[in-house]
Symmetry: C2
Subunit: 113 residues, 2 copies
């Protein structure tokens, strides 16, 4: 039994993380950016079912949160590249646990556990 | 540079986890149920800003996914208790990483990193 609980308030750390990277797309985008810099069209190609509008919107929020860096080269036609910031790179162990959770879930579902 | 990427398809493990525990409430509910069995009113009290309707709906989905166990005692007035299943308990390392991510984020934000 675990009695010490984090009380769920607006400032609880789980909520903070949900606000930063919650929703359907942010972690998928950050996963693609891990260890590499990508332009919008490459990101779009890696996540085929996201609309361009949604991708741009999610990137904007991630940039505002300081998790993604947007570099514009000021060229014509525009050349813009996205990469993870130091803060954004901290997403790696979280994504790893999401993958683990899914694998354990599917394994237990197969053996009927 | 990391070149080996999990291609983001409908079956990618990150998506599976997002489908199972994504959204605003499921992880908060599961966090409260970790290591303890709770009735609806206790869960509601622990997460003050969730509506009862939403709480019931989210619990229903979690039960359907096999992550939460619902035990009804068949009493009048009804007595129903919720707890995590074995599969649901696997959420612990994921929640731990969510807490870590939030802490690292806030720490770097304080030092301006």
């Amino acid at each position: 039994m675990e009695n010490k609980k984090i009380y769920i308030t607006a400032r609880c750390p789980i909520r903070t993380t949900l606000e930063l990277v919650g929703g359907k797309w942010k972690l998928l985008i950050m996963h693609q950016l891990y260890g590499q810099t990508l332009r919008l069209n490459k990101l779009k190609a890696a996540i085929p079912d996201i609309s361009e509008k949604m991708l741009i919107q999610e990137l904007k929020v991630l940039v505002q949160s300081g998790l993604v860096h947007r570099k514009s080269y000021g060229e014509v036609p525009p050349r813009v590249e996205y990469s993870l910031t130091g803060k954004g790179e901290n997403v790696k162990p979280l994504i790893k646990e999401m993958v683990n959770f899914s694998r354990k879930y599917e394994e237990k579902s197969r053996v009927g556990g």
